[in-house]
Amino acid sequence: MRDLARYLLAYEAVACKTSDPVESATLRVYEKLRQSLGAFAGVFGFQALAFRALTQAKSEAPGLWAVQIAADGSLQGLGEFEPQLVEFAPQLGSGKDQASEGGVILIARLLGLLLVFLGGTLTLRLVQSVWPDAAFDDCNSEIRRKA
């Protein structure tokens, strides 16, 4: 799932430069998933899923401690988290790459839950419907392997 998450973040990072450079790639990926999954599973359904994903992600990326899921399922505190993480990365003994890994972990956890509940085929179709122009060939095999 991390490869897929990394791919989506990279994809949105490129898109950020051309559209809204202020918004982080993690937030863009998350928001797109929220819009799509929220319509499909409902606000409460998505919020519950996201809360679980964040809880799991925090155990792997302690720097996400300030991040929270709002009642409407939106992500709060990520704006603070990403600069902090990069700023304190040397003190934490981790580099910038590791710091940005927090976003990857969160998205990967969210996708991982979808994989658990819906299986590989439906998860991939859902992701493809959110990013219709992205190429998912490598991710496809990763999802199938995990499923």
Binding site: A41, G45, L49, L126
Partner: protein, 504 residues
């Protein structure tokens, strides 16, 4: 009005095996339907089957979920069914959750939201699951009626075929406006019958279409809902003209007693107590058919097909080869919770698959025991429908039935079903000269004359073998305790043979 001037209502496939037949050929396009029933009765699965059968990217299906089962969990479970095609998501089938608007706003806002989504997607199918939870909040009757009316009118105008799913109790049928507005009302029931669960489906209402009335059994398997029409899928089928062909047992003396064999398309009952050779006779009937190029089906309930075939081998009858060649199918119908309609479905499938001309049901007692207790009460009625349907398509049925041996009466069957059969062959034990011997007699042949002789027979490694001539030296043979008449046969005649071709 001229027939040509009438609007033609397209019929959509339901995606549920057996249901198209029940609803009269398919579901009316643009109809507004309710699927009602208790939780776990299969409402959502039925709706999904319809959606998967009809949704396309051009005319997708919108599946509105409300409170209750979450979409994620629903998809998690529904994808286990074989009809579930993930390639249809999300282009052809779109799930939209309305929980928030239902919880936070009024019915007007809900209708607005549905209208917005429908206008955007132009769907061919709309499902609201569960509609009941959508209208659960306290509101005035007028608001509710106005909402239902608005929804029905909008969706019909938008040329969508709609299903509203709800957990309704049957006593709500009278007062709920939703049932008045609906074009189709499908009621799913599941009721415990002792240790079994019996599922039944009823089309309470279906406008503009001739649906099959009554309660139809259904089952939920890994293929989803499967319905079994009370007409066994044979309604509208032209009955085969009566045949004058005779089908033999391959037991020359018995065939003579039957006037050359049983008439094709007859229902034959072989009755006798345990060990009298009913199954042997049935096996010989099937084996003879196969040797004459007539494929056959044996429905067994009390033993496995392998054991049945092995027993035939001891009689010198090969049932293995015709099974491999597709000329014979031995159906073992699992002995639990069956409905007659399900059994019929299995038998009809097999009949159509191999073009069977002969069918053995061995035995009726086993068949009855295989049914769920709830269906046993209707056994005679179900048997009547089954025999009528099968003989109507030219299949000759031989059923075996065990009867208790009695020395004060001569019963043909414990089920009082002799009126369902065209021909009856009765086997029984008699006590003669200190031995328990076996005799047979043809009791009845609806399609022609038959011998009245009581003949002794044995079961050998060649099967049933009829011995000598009729037992004319004894009186009271059918009592089982005959008395030797001590007189020579007055006629000194050979075994009486019927005048073939004459009718009762």
């Amino acid at each position: 009005m001229n027939t040509e001037d009438r609007v033609k209502i397209n019929k959509l496939p339901t995606g549920v095996p057996g249901l198209d037949e029940i609803v009269g050929g398919g579901l009316p396009e643009f109809s507004f339907n309710i699927i009602a029933g208790a939780p776990g009765s299969g409402k959502t699965t039925l709706a999904h089957q319809f959606v998967f059968a009809n949704a396309t990217p051009e005319r997708p299906a919108l599946y509105f979920t409300v409170l209750g089962e979450s979409s994620i969990k629903m998809l998690r479970y529904q994808q286990q069914y074989t009809f579930f095609d993930p390639a249809k998501l999300p282009d052809s089938i779109r799930f939209i959750n309305l929980s928030q608007v239902v919880l936070e706003k009024d019915l007007g806002a809900v209708l607005e939201e549905i209208t917005r989504e429908v206008t955007k997607a132009n769907p061919a199918v709309v499902v609201v699951d569960s509609f009941r939870t959508m209208v659960r909040k306290p509101q005035s009757d007028l608001d509710l009626q106005s909402f239902i009316q608005g929804l029905a009118l909008f969706l019909a105008s938008w040329q969508a075929t709609t299903f509203l799913i709800g957990e309704y109790a049957e006593d709500e049928l009278r007062d709920n406006p939703i049932f008045t507005v609906a074009d189709g009302l499908f009621w799913l029931r599941q009721t415990p019958e002792r240790n079994s669960i019996v599922r039944k489906l009823q089309i309470i209402k279906l406008r503009g279409q001739d649906s099959v009335p009554g309660l139809h059994t259904f089952r939920i398997t890994d293929a989803g809902v499967q319905a079994f029409s009370r007409t066994f899928g044979l309604s509208g089928r032209v009955k085969d003209p009566p045949s004058h062909r005779r089908l033999c047992f391959g037991i020359p003396e018995l065939d003579k007693m039957l006037g050359g064999g049983v008439r094709e398309g007859d229902s034959v009952l072989v009755a006798g107590s345990s060990g009298t050779g009913k199954s042997v006779l049935a096996t010989q009937f099937i084996a003879e058919g196969i040797s004459q190029g007539e494929p056959g089906i044996v429905a067994v309930f009390e033993e496995r097909p392998q054991a049945y075939a092995e027993r035939a081998t001891t009689l010198g009858l090969d049932l293995e080869t015709p099974q491999k060649d597709g000329k014979l199918k031995i159906l073992y119908l699992r002995p639990l919770d069956l409905s007659v309609d399900e059994t019929m479905h299995s038998i009809l499938d097999a009949v159509q698959k191999i073009g069977a001309k002969r069918l053995v049901i061995d035995s009726l007692a086993g068949f009855e025991m295989a049914l769920s207790p709830g269906f046993r009460a209707d056994f005679r009625e179900s048997l009547y429908r089954m025999i009528f349907a099968l003989t109507g398509i030219g299949v000759t049925i031989l059923s075996t039935v065990e009867v208790d041996e009695s020395f004060i009466e001569f019963p043909f069957s414990t089920y009082s079903i002799s009126f369902l059969t065209d021909d009856i062959i009765r086997l029984r034990y008699v006590s003669i000269d200190g031995q328990l011997r076996k005799v047979m007699v043809v009791i009845k042949m609806r399609g022609g004359n038959h011998a009245k002789d009581i003949r002794e027979y044995e079961i050998t490694d060649k099967g049933v073998v009829i011995l000598g001539k009729r037992l004319s030296d004894y009186q009271g043979l059918i009592s089982g305790i005959p008395v030797h008449s001590n007189r020579p046969d007055p006629q000194e005649e050979s075994t009486q043979e019927p005048e073939i071709g004459s009718h009762e």
